[in-house]
């Protein structure tokens, strides 16, 4: 898919258009210069940040960087374990960053970082009621995804596999089930390891891919960012093109003599 084609096929979330279907995270980069090169290569227009206590004399370097690159900031609620913590963090992010968009993340424990669906649904409901544009990080459970959409979430973001594992899309059929019934964009969030994972997510019908670790902790983050950009574009094009059905027996591609 060329640059020109991506402009006529924007990602639309809550009425806002994005030219790139790759949403980046900023976690894991060794420094801001490395992060900048990766973000530029990725072509992303929407990128997550976390909210943390300010160190004395600490700056806002990542915000300055995103502003300079004209990339929209998407604060997350990473580290929150229950709905109350996530709602407070989202409200603080709105206050600090002047955006009512939030990547809602409520995880159950540190070893798996899997979403806690009960707390997630509770937090999503409160934040939607409070006027937030909510993009929830969720498990790949089609029923939970449906519930989140019914609550008014602007997108649903199922995991491919647990955060930071790089295990790719472990249950492609679940992702297809979510896509088949969703009326909001489905963004594959978490677990991407390499470009073919991002490509597969798009072939399955996801509207976008969100990733961080696979780029920021790659040996060459900028090169992997470019690979992810191309993987997402290739997967999107393949999805739109309509793949051939899979067949059990061979079918000759040359005419019989």
């Amino acid at each position: 898919m060329t640059e020109a084609q991506t402009r006529t096929d924007p990602l639309v979330i809550a009425g806002r258009e994005f030219g790139s279907r790759l949403v980046m995270g900023t976690g894991g980069a060794t420094n801001l210069a490395v992060l900048e090169r990766a973000l530029v290569e990725s072509g992303t227009e929407l990128t997550t940040v976390a909210m943390r206590r300010m160190d004395a004399g600490g700056g806002t370097g990542v915000l300055d960087l995103l502003r300079r690159l004209n990339i929209e900031t998407l604060p997350n609620t990473a580290g929150c374990r229950n709905a109350a913590e996530a709602v407070l963090t989202a409200r603080l992010a709105r206050e600090a960053l002047a955006t009512d968009w939030v990547k809602l993340e409520v995880v159950a424990d540190d070893r798996t970082l899997l979403p806690d669906p009960v707390e997630l649904l509770d937090a999503a409901e409160q934040l939607v009621d409070d006027g937030f544009t909510v993009l929830p990080y969720t498990s790949d459970d089609p029923v939970v995804a449906r519930r989140l959409e019914d609550l008014g979430c602007a997108a649903v973001m199922p995991l491919g596999s647990p955060i930071g594992t790089g295990l790719g899309v472990r249950n492609p059929h679940n992702i297809e089930l979510i896509v088949a019934r969703a009326g909001v964009p489905v963004i594959l969030d978490a677990g991407i390891g390499t470009a073919s994972d991002a490509c597969l997510a798009m072939e399955l019908g996801c509207a976008a891919v969100l990733l961080a670790t696979s780029v920021t902790r790659a040996a060459d983050p900028a090169l992997m960012a470019a690979a992810m950009r191309d993987g997402v574009r290739a997967g999107r094009a393949a999805r739109l093109a309509g793949r051939v059905p899979q067949r059990f027996w061979a079918q000759a591609s040359s005419p019989p003599r």
């Binding site: 995270g25 976390a50 990473a78 206050e95």
Partner: protein, 66 residues
């Protein structure tokens, strides 16, 4: 008066405000938010919100993550 700011106990003058805490912390004017007693203190209220003895105040900003 004592208050806990970002997990550290601070000695503050009576009548100190949230704005005073931010000044002492060296917080920038933009990109930060304040929670006190588990609620957001809106920017417009920083100068008028007095810290009470025993308050827990968190000052947050955006960092790399996600």
């Amino acid at each position: 008066m004592r208050a806990v700011v970002n997990g550290v106990e601070w000695e503050l003058a009576d009548g100190a405000t949230v704005a005073d805490v931010l000044r002492r912390l060296g917080a920038p004017d933009v990109g930060v938010a304040v929670a006190c007693r588990g609620e957001v203190v809106p920017r417009a209220s920083w100068a008028a919100t007095e810290v009470r003895d025993g308050d827990e105040i968190d000052v947050l900003t955006a960092v790399q993550g996600g």
